[in-house]
Symmetry: C2
Subunit: 684 residues, 2 copies
């Protein structure tokens, strides 16, 4: 029972893969690019607590000042830096981490309080606006940074002040009469606190995490009022004053606090908040499952997480793994409301939200080994997440629409004023080894006898896992593959003979008819797939230290969205990769592929391209939907026909047959062009 | 150059028609039902200026208190009552009008000020919040009531205090240094002021109307600031405090004030506001065209109205004539964003908005005889407007979705706290005669020689028009038809022989191939259709005092929306009537016809039904879209497939072929049932 942010240390990406390529880019370029950004913006030295002109900037999205995320920006960077320092030392990064830790330590108040905005800019406002001001959110990221820092540096220089801060927060918030019954507007501290508890046994951390999760959405928590209403009244705010993200006053669903979480039936509001919150709940459940700490109503909590997960995946997720259709609240729309772009009614799919889907999926996989989580983790990783960073590691996306428009072209930025996505990307890739597999053993002493171990493999790539099963013995397990382009994976196991190891391998649901070939074959063939995984028992593992798994179904396939989305589109996919079209390849396009039609029975040709370590582009045939009838109709309409066209015999008239080239969605916006891109094309 | 609210007096609905039926229902039932509502709510006697418990109600939509519309509710009722009193005297209604007028007179301040809220509840707040508090809007409706009152009662009892109020407003607002450079959040007073000017020559009224229209959207109008921002600052409001209807702070587009109107390229925001405003501009243009008063930049103003009209009709209007897809701001979404109901992303189509389309269309027809306006006036009247009142005249709709859902079933209410739609419906139908035709002559004296007259017929029904062309002579023109069910219209003309009368008749664009038969035929046959109208010259009219027009194309037809709407639907229409399906006829339906499929080549059978004076129901064949594959996929999905289904060979699997019955959309929600209704059905 631990977290991927710790377990990744047992995994090395020792051979070529697209994941290794990205990790290298981040380690060599992105981490430093982000550091440069910090130096340019002033974030870098903010914990020296000097005044900065930005603090006076009024051009912000009320009530959030520009610098409100600086604590977490630095914390996420420290966390990511510590993960990458684990595999490769870098003087500049090491020095920057040490400087930041030193300033953070020096910025802490005597009582333990530690927050830039409420120390330098608004000292009187401390704990006055949990709904909007990210105070607890920032603390959450500091906790995560401190855990990463301790793992790497093996000292408490950062953890010590953070634990002091947690003790303060534990005093301020809780069910006691003299305590505030609050909870953060933006969840994050909850999952950080569970991690802290698991790493250190800090009981304050556990209690706070559970308290925040349970108190959330209490309609009468503070003096008979919803806490966020109560604190707004206390500030003297008008009951109708609301942040711009709130579509209406008291839209507590924006931060998943409209009713207690256990009563929520659909996933609502800001998607990153929703998923961070559910990740914390899943981790509390994992703690409970391990026997380390009881969690009241755990069956109800589990049912809640699964209910909201299902609502998200079945009705509120794009084919890319993106979530969040609505820009205003950066979050979920109604069931099946999944337009592809701004000009169709919206599409947000923030990079951080899909990273958070991965967080939650990983936690759920520890709770319940089920391919429904493993498949989603992979879908997000290779598509809605990986599209978030350019190949050169220097520019990013915040929003990942499925179709561009004149208003929102497909493109990247080098930074964002709310810079959550870039460092989130870095820290995910820094700890990526922790997402490939779960493993463990019952070995806990000097003897290696009767030890049973397991490895559950969720993601396929080229990587090596090494972990101790006793004081004297360790297991070394390696996978080698050209995934995600080919389905063959070679495994190599080295473990002491007396250890009984069970290996489980995920069979992706997209594999045609779930076909696979295990070599050597198992005596229990045909091997059953249970909840998306096959199980190799210790006998097989012992007899076959080297074996291979061939996942079939890498032929390009078409996917269509649920009919209730009112999207009549086809999306091309191959293995775990979702494809899109860009004008960089299809230079003839001038209208964001809005009228481009493909057919499910067209031949698709594969093209191996050498760039970015090699990838597969796809070629097929497309047509243009003629709007000539409509243009005519518009003229007629101007002479007064109703807003619609009288139906002719043809449903869709096609013209201009030509070749069309598809590239992976993650590859978009890397090669210039005019920013025209689309994932789902009209189904002819 | 006059308004339908005056010219209707020359028209009588002297024979049976659905319009006459509705008018009778309103005169006998609705006007009194509304009066009962006023008595129950306290609105009735509000101008006695006594305190009412409602004034303390805090359960309102900030900053709009429940009673804010009472002035205009009464005013609209008075206006409608005066229209109906013209055709049939009623003691109770007459007495109520007289009582209301008396109390309104007594409620006026010495300086002329006349507003319930700012007299009784918030005297200090006068002119402090033009953006939200409907002060000028209420005055606009009082002006319209006063004009209707004067026309009927032939006295100035109401007009006199209202003109005094207008003089006060003229002093307060304007370009002078000591004046406020404001304009109302909700346009209405502008069109009322132009009406007042036309009726009385009141120069203050003209100047104010033009000022409000020209000043609107000025980014630097008051002390270098947008007026609505300036007044908010003056009130001490936070810059981020905004009404619930505002999706974001400073969403001045909500009330068409984001930029000056001349610079607006798309129609945005609250649809009633947008259309009232454009109606005022069109009326200013009509004044200018008549030579009564100059209007600077009239060519630009005309281009603006037409540009925004086209944007609305071509891209933001439902097939029913409904406008406004977005509930939050009761208004327009992006181009082609036209989902049918709540569960598809929204649909609003407020009754008042379509009434306002009729207002604007009528004004445009006076400016430019073009069927594009006549057709839209008819489309709205018979569909999105007429659906707003029940057959018994006692219940109403505010929102007119094209598809019901569990959350928003198809149904009616007996009243609304913001009761704008019911009295708007009454006053429209009260003055409906004014929308049927425009007419006029150059006769202006005692002689009837050399007089030329014209009648432009926009709407077909059974009605008679009588108007003076000289002191001694009048024209009597009659149409008789079973419209909208049949296309044959008999015309009868009585006019002095020496008057040269030109008659123009609209040929609806939906008439198949614009076919029509004129009997007796014209010597200039085939008669050209110019801008949607045919012209009968004085020679024809003189030779044929009785003639008939047969409009062809009453066969049921299917309409599909623009492809960019992403709606793959068919809507059944017949003549000007748009059809829907209801579970009252199709009792087998349990899911709002969401999966019901029709095909364009299915036979459609007509059924004459005797109810409501007779109407045509339609019978065709439907299927159910099978979601079985999807339900299976959902199971697979739970084992982890991407959010979408791999494409099979069939695009849509159909089952359960059966008969389906269609009724006019205006007829919906009159016969019980479970509230399942849909206009556009899936296209098979």
């Amino acid at each position: 029972m631990t977290n991927p942010q710790s377990t990744f240390r047992n995994t090395s990406f020792h051979g070529p893969s697209i994941l290794a390529t990205r990790r290298k880019t981040i380690a060599r370029t992105t981490i430093k690019t982000q550091l440069d950004q910090f130096r340019q913006t002033g974030t870098y030295s903010c914990f020296e607590l000097k005044w900065h002109p930005t603090y006076e900037d009024k051009n912000f999205l009320w009530p959030v000042p520009l610098h409100l995320f600086w604590d977490s920006d630095l914390a996420k960077w420290i966390e990511g830096a510590c993960y990458f320092l684990a595999s490769e030392h870098d003087e500049e990064i090491d020095a920057a981490v040490k400087y930041m830790v030193e300033t953070i330590r020096s910025a802490q108040g005597e009582d333990g309080y530690l927050n830039l905005h409420h120390t330098v800019v608004d000292p009187k406002g401390r704990w006055s606006n949990l709904r909007d001001l990210h105070e607890l959110y920032n603390c959450g990221h500091l906790i995560e940074a401190a855990l990463a820092h301790k793992d790497h540096y093996k000292n408490d220089l950062l953890l010590e002040p953070i634990e002091k801060y947690v003790r303060l927060i534990r005093k301020v918030f809780g069910p006691g009469e003299d305590q505030l019954h609050g909870f953060p507007g933006h969840p994050e501290i909850e999952l950080a606190l569970v991690r802290l508890y698991k790493a250190t046994g800090n009981q304050d951390a556990y209690d706070l995490a559970q308290y925040f999760v349970e108190e959330r959405g209490n309609p009468t928590g503070q003096e008979g009022k919803h806490y966020h209403d109560w604190e707004a009244e206390k500030r003297g705010d008008s009951a109708w004053l609301r942040p711009n993200h709130y579509s209406e006053a008291r839209a507590h669903w924006y931060c998943q606090a409209h009713v207690p979480l256990l009563e929520q039936t659909t996933i609502e509001g800001h998607s990153v908040r929703a998923l961070y919150l559910l990740t914390a709940v899943a981790d509390l459940l994992a703690v409970e499952k391990s026997g380390q700490h009881a969690f009241a109503k755990s069956d109800q909590w589990l049912a809640t997480v699964k209910r909201l997960w299902d609502n998200m995946v079945d009705r509120k997720m794009y084919v890319t793994g993106g979530v969040g259709a609505i820009k205003q609240w950066e979050g979920f729309g109604g069931d099946y409301f999944l337009p592809q772009g701004t000009d169709e009614g919206g599409c947000y799919a923030e990079t951080c939200a899909s990273i958070a889907v991965m967080f939650l999926a990983e936690r759920m996989l520890e709770l319940e080994l089920d391919g429904r989580y493993g498949d989603m983790m992979e879908l997000c990783l290779y598509n809605s997440v990986m599209t978030g960073m350019s190949l050169d590691g220097k520019s990013f996306t915040y929003v990942n629409q499925l179709a561009s428009s004149d208003k929102d072209k497909s493109g990247r930025e080098s930074w964002f004023w709310c810079a959550c996505c870039p460092p989130n990307f870095s820290r995910l890739f820094g700890s990526l080894g922790g997402y490939l597999w779960h493993y463990g053993s019952n070995g806990n002493g000097t003897t290696t006898d009767d030890v049973e171990a397991f490895i559950n493999v969720h993601l396929y790539t080229t990587a090596k896992l090494t972990f101790q099963v006793s004081d004297a013995a360790s297991i070394e397990f390696e996978q080698k593959t050209n995934w995600p382009w080919e389905g063959n994976i070679l495994f190599q196991m080295k473990n002491p003979a007396q250890i009984k190891t069970t290996i489980r391998l995920r069979i992706p649901a997209w594999a045609k008819g779930k076909k696979f070939t295990l070599t050597p074959s198992s005596p229990s063939s045909p091997m059953p797939i249970e909840n998306g995984y096959i199980t190799l028992d210790p006998a097989y593992v012992a007899a076959n230290p080297a074996f291979s798994l061939q996942i079939h179904g890498f032929e390009p396939r078409y996917i269509e969205p649920h009919p209730y989305t009112n999207q009549r589109t086809l999306t091309l996919a191959r293995g775990p990769i979702i494809y899109c079209v860009e004008d960089a390849d299809n230079t003839w396009e001038t209208n964001h592929f809005k009228d481009v039609v493909i057919k499910r029975d067209s031949a698709v040709r594969e093209e191996q391209r050498p760039d970015d370590g090699g990838y597969v582009a796809l070629h097929s045939t497309c047509w243009k939907r003629s709007l000539e009838d409509w243009e005519t109709t518009t003229t007629v309409q101007k002479a007064g026909v109703e807003p619609g066209r009288e139906v002719g015999t043809e449903e869709m008239r096609l013209e201009d047959e030509r070749e069309i080239v598809f590239v992976p969605y993650y590859y978009r916006a890397n090669r210039g062009g005019k920013g025209h891109m689309r994932v789902g094309l009209l189904r002819g």
